[in-house]
Homo-oligomer: 103 residues x 7
């Protein structure tokens, strides 16, 4: 087995998962978003770079995702799995963890 | 990826979520609402500023929301995800976390 | 957004929720009801002042509530969300948290 | 709202709930029932004095209860909600918390 | 309400419950069964003395039990509700807590 | 009730349960299997000696098991209920706790 | 029962499980993948060496897996059951624990 050279284009999410590039904190303060420091779950902004084919229904068909590549999204900071490629941060999320599209 | 400039009109909730502007505390005391200090969940008042398209049914159709933009609603203080735009507080809620319409 | 002036008639419960005026403790001792001091959930008496339209079925129809405005009900003291209007106490409950009608 | 004067005949359980008069401890030792002092849930004996109409099915019909007024039943001591009327103890139980009929 | 005189024949389990006479420990060592002292759930041997009519299906029919009166069964020591009649120990179990028939 | 003399052939699992003879540790090191000492669940090897008839479907039919008597299987060390017959160790497992067939 | 000699080709996953060879850490740093040290679940890279036949539907048919032997996959480090064959590390995973295909 050869070495796995991970890059953004090689990551293909399964099912209803999406691959999201996390927006840097600077952008967020620039955009006026403020994340209050409370015990509640915190929102995070990112941009979708890859989406899965959707959940499979019992009859074998797919339930397509509501979001698409390029959408900027709000999601909970504590959801999903973090992945770092070089110096960029990404997160693999289920679509249900996306709260809103903000683009 | 350009900076994300968040404003109320750019937030589009997914599924059965609603975007709610939290009412200031002054209004509530003016209106006579008193939030008792107990261990039980506390109600909060807010106004809906954006709604999602509703949950998707298995056949692809949508189950429309019961609430609409402009509705003033009571919801549990501990539900949802807080978002701050400038000095205003907002919350992203699932419709099922809304207890009653009060307008 | 103008101040929200909450009064009983402006609270419209959603789904299968009911809005209940909590009966004062005096009434209960007068009526002979005694709430034993145990670790088990405690019953509380109240009168329904508003009801929701009922849960929506998958086909869009509603499952009407079994209780109606004016019913006096027993419910668990720890269920629902407390709301105070002036000096009166109210609670927003799901119908399933109502144990019995006592009127 | 007038004072609520609770008596056995005024309690009408909802759904699949039953209203049970708790049997006094004397009876149980007389009858030979011994409740072992363990960490497991303890059985309790009582007599049903009122039953609900049964759970509503999705089509609006009712699933009638298996027990009836007058049945003596074994139930878990930790189930349900205690209610005291005068010096008598009662409990509001879901039918599924009844372990066996013993009459 | 007259005193309840509990005896084996008066206990009629509801739904999918069975009434099991717990086998004495002597028998088990005689039979070679050894209950290892671990943190895992421990098996117990007993004989079924009464069974319920089975779970009711949505259409009102019953799903008959797989076990019958007289079956010797292995079940988890921590399952069900203990009942003592005179010096004999019994347990009220759901059929799903029975691991195997050993007769 | 006569003494229960348990032996392998008398254990008949119910539903989707299987009765598995636990393989001795020697065999496993011989076979090269190494169980890493981590906080994750540990696999264990055993051989199926009896199987249940399968889960009953709602229409009364059975869903046959995928495994059969004689299969060597990998299962989680923490699953099921341990039983010792003489000096041999057995375990009663649900089929869903079996990870793979290794024979 | 003869000794079980485990090798990769003898492991046949059941249901929707897959058998994955864990990629060595060197490969991952070479490929640029960095696993941030946070409290969130950590991704791990591996290659699928065997797959199960898929979950059985209620009608007895199978829901085939989306992944195939040879796929390189990202999965949560804390999912599944670790197995070591010689000096190689493997993991038995449910397909739903696979986050993305990266080959």
């Amino acid at each position: 087995m050869a070495a796995v050279s991970l890059s953004v284009s090689t990551v293909k999410p399964l099912g209803d998962r999406v691959f999201v590039k996390v927006s840097a904190s600077e952008e967020k303060t620039a955009g006026g978003l403020y994340l209050p420091d409370t015990a509640k779950e915190k929102p995070q902004v990112g941009e979708i770079v890859a989406i899965g084919p959707g959940k499979r229904n019992d009859d074998g068909s797919r339930q397509e995702l509501e979001v698409k590549v390029g959408d900027k999204v709000l999601y909970s900071k504590y959801a999903g799995t973090d992945v770092k490629l070089g110096t960029d941060e990404y997160v693999l999320l289920s679509e249900k963890d996306i709260l809103a599209v903000v683009s």
